[in-house]
């Protein structure tokens, strides 16, 4: 299955072979759940986020669970409204006070839900940092970029003004911003999109985070720049030994860079596995449909994309049972019961009664697909 696809992005490993990366924690650690040495950095269990919008309750996240090992890169994949972004903002404590959050988020053994704002603030931009989607809107248009970085530096260190300046320039050099010293005194609108995102990354790195969340960090950029920024993120991740959660709607991007993939639908994880495992054997019909919608070079010219009918579910009125049921071609009455996310194969979890090509359920499905 994955062999059929042409991956548009250079593999993340190239940097390692070029020797750019510091040796510490540089190699790709064993995937999550492999029980590698030590505790996972992030453990999310049964996370639920509910908004009240116009009197209706909107269930943005419905019992999401995953764990993330230190120093690894994980991708959370899903359509808009799948809860991928909301769940990561919950992790940062960035949701509005009107959001109802339950479940558990443990970072380095510490429970984040219900953590006092003061402690959360120390964590934000310190141990946990975030890069956002649209660098044009994410930087303060009225502040010089230098000031925006030094602000972050000073919040998470004891450096004085001069020290913070030096550190900020260092960070700009770290993210390979050309002419860092000069750019320090410029405003965001004077920079290109890619440069702005480099600045955003520099800000995120200011607190020497152990976890970096990249929320659609390359979506607003053009394809070339996108690749450059992803390269930079992978390089920094390995060089600084941080863990990265990469949030994207782009399965191809995830396949190229992440070691572990979580696929989200309607606010819950529907399939998760190490990248290799996942793409070798996609089980969940939804993930399968996502893959089918990616254009590939070996596809017959003018052939139709596989299209999944229907709309993403209304989060304020989720269907009974499996949320993907109304759009799923394999759906049966069994699906009126919500399938649990279970480890059906080693390291490979999915939530489906009728997994694609797994032997159980429907045998004809695999042939039908391609």
């Amino acid at each position: 299955m994955s062999g059929e696809r042409t991956v548009a992005y250079p593999a993340g490993d190239t940097l390692v072979s070029e020797g750019v990366i510091a040796p510490a924690r540089a190699g790709r650690p064993a995937p999550a759940r492999a029980g590698a040495a030590g505790e996972p950095l992030v453990v999310v269990e049964g996370l639920r986020v509910q908004f009240t919008r116009g009197g209706r309750k909107v269930n943005a996240v419905n019992g999401l669970s995953y764990r993330l090992e230190p120093g690894t890169m994980m991708a959370i994949i899903g359509e808009s409204g799948s809860g991928k972004s909301v769940s990561s903002r919950a992790l940062m404590g960035l949701l509005p006070p009107t959001a109802k959050i339950s479940g558990s988020i443990r970072f380095d053994g510490r429970e984040l839900i219900g953590l006092p704002e003061k402690d959360m603030r120390e964590l934000r931009g310190g141990d946990i940092a975030m890069v956002f989607q649209d660098p044009a809107r994410s930087l303060n248009p009225t502040m010089k970029i230098g000031a925006q970085i030094t602000e972050a530096v000073r919040l998470h260190s004891d450096l004085d003004k001069r020290g913070a300046h030096a550190r900020a320039v260092e960070l700009l050099k770290l993210v390979r911003l050309p002419a860092a010293e000069r750019r320090f005194h410029e405003y965001p609108h004077q920079l290109s999109g890619g440069m702005r995102q480099r600045v955003m990354i520099a800000i995120a790195l200011a607190g020497e985070p152990r976890l970096l969340i990249a929320d659609e960090a390359t979506t607003a950029l053009d394809v070339t720049t996108q690749a450059q920024i992803m390269e930079l993120l992978v390089e920094l991740q390995q060089r600084l030994g941080m863990a990265v959660i990469m949030i994207s709607h782009d399965l191809g991007l995830a396949a190229s860079y992440a070691q572990h993939v979580v696929v989200m639908y309607a606010g819950r994880a529907v399939e998760q596995a190490p990248t290799q495992t996942l793409f070798a054997n996609v089980r969940m019909p939804y993930t399968h449909a996502l893959l089918g919608a990616i254009p590939a070079l070996d596809r017959e010219p003018h052939s139709l994309f596989d299209v999944t009918p229907g709309q993403p579910p209304d989060l304020s009125a989720l269907p009974k049972g499996c949320p993907f049921r109304p759009r799923c071609q394999y759906a049966t009455d069994t699906c009126l019961q919500a399938p649990p996310l279970t480890e059906h194969e080693p390291e490979h979890l999915w939530a489906c009664w009728h997994p694609v090509g797994a032997g159980a359920g429907h045998n004809s499905a695999n042939g039908e697909q391609r």
């Binding site: 940062m92 960035l94 509005p96 704002e117 603030r121 120390e122 964590l123 934000r124 931009g125 310190g126 940092a129 975030m130 956002f132 989607q133 649209d134 809107r137 994410s138 930087l139 303060n140 248009p141 009225t142 502040m143 010089k144 602000e151 972050a152 919040l155 998470h156 010293e181 000069r182 320090f184 005194h185 410029e186 405003y187 609108h189 004077q190 955003m200 800000i203 995120a204 200011a206 607190g207």
Partner: protein, 345 residues
Amino acid sequence: MTATATTPRVPVSRDPRVSRLTRVTGSPVLRLIVKRLLMAVPIMLGVTILTFWVLSLIPGNAAEQLLGAEATPEDVALLERQLGLDQPGVVRYLEWLQGAVTGDLGNSIVSRQPVSDVLADRLPVTGELVLLAFLISLVLAIPVALLAAHKPGGIMDRISMVVSTLGLSVANYVLALILVLVFAVTLGWLPAIGYVPLEDGLWANLEAMILPSAAIGFPLFCFYTRFLRGDLVDQMQQEEYVTTARAKGVGSWSVLIKHAFRNSSFGLITVVGLNLGALIGGTVIIEQIFALPGIGQMLLQAINTRDFVVVQAAVVIFALVAVVANLVVDLLYAVLDPRIRYGSR
């Protein structure tokens, strides 16, 4: 290494007129000034022509007013000739304009005093009134708006909402009378009416000015509070750079003051500038109530005595203030907002 070290790139315009202008002026800020000044000229011309026209519609003229009801038509005609009132309106306007561009606004028909002398007496009074009103309104509005916006829907937000809604519904002449009733008549803390020049002591002067400037300033305070609160809440809830700041670990007050307020201040400046024109018209009635010898009082008297030269001068001053205020707003924008300062956008 300073901000000016980077030379701003001026976008080359296809319009030959603009590019010539660009070459002459060089910087985008200068270009803006020139453009605005050029736009102000037709507005000022329009305003003065309109005044002349409106005034010419008013039945009766200064000659009749000066001579009283018993004057013979011959006497009136003679005085009209002496005052130049027998000339057609166009001629009078052009003569006036000729004087005005050289700084000569003519002599008052009634008192024969040069209008510029009258203005020199009156302008400082109105100027102080307006300045104090702005000071009072802004000094109060900014902290109140910040407090309200820090917790939308909170107790401070609700109180400020009620107060500002009431304040925006009170006519300033009613407010003035309430203030006089409370602080002058009942409590006796401040004088009810009258003006004390600055030479007679700063405190005595301020005592006389507090109530009138509060009467003008309070509705402004309400307006600015609402405006700023709304804009701050919008910034806090809709702008991604606020999320970035919070994600950095910046505290909620710092986000509000250092990030959101910085951006909201541009809108506030615009509103303040646009207000100035309307505000100066509002001084007419307040000066009347408090017997302050300012431009507004002068204008009312001049209208009653058909002293059109003085009316014209007052209108020019008012319009000029409005136009200049707009210009200053644009300039402040240009100086404060880096996006304009560097010629992009």
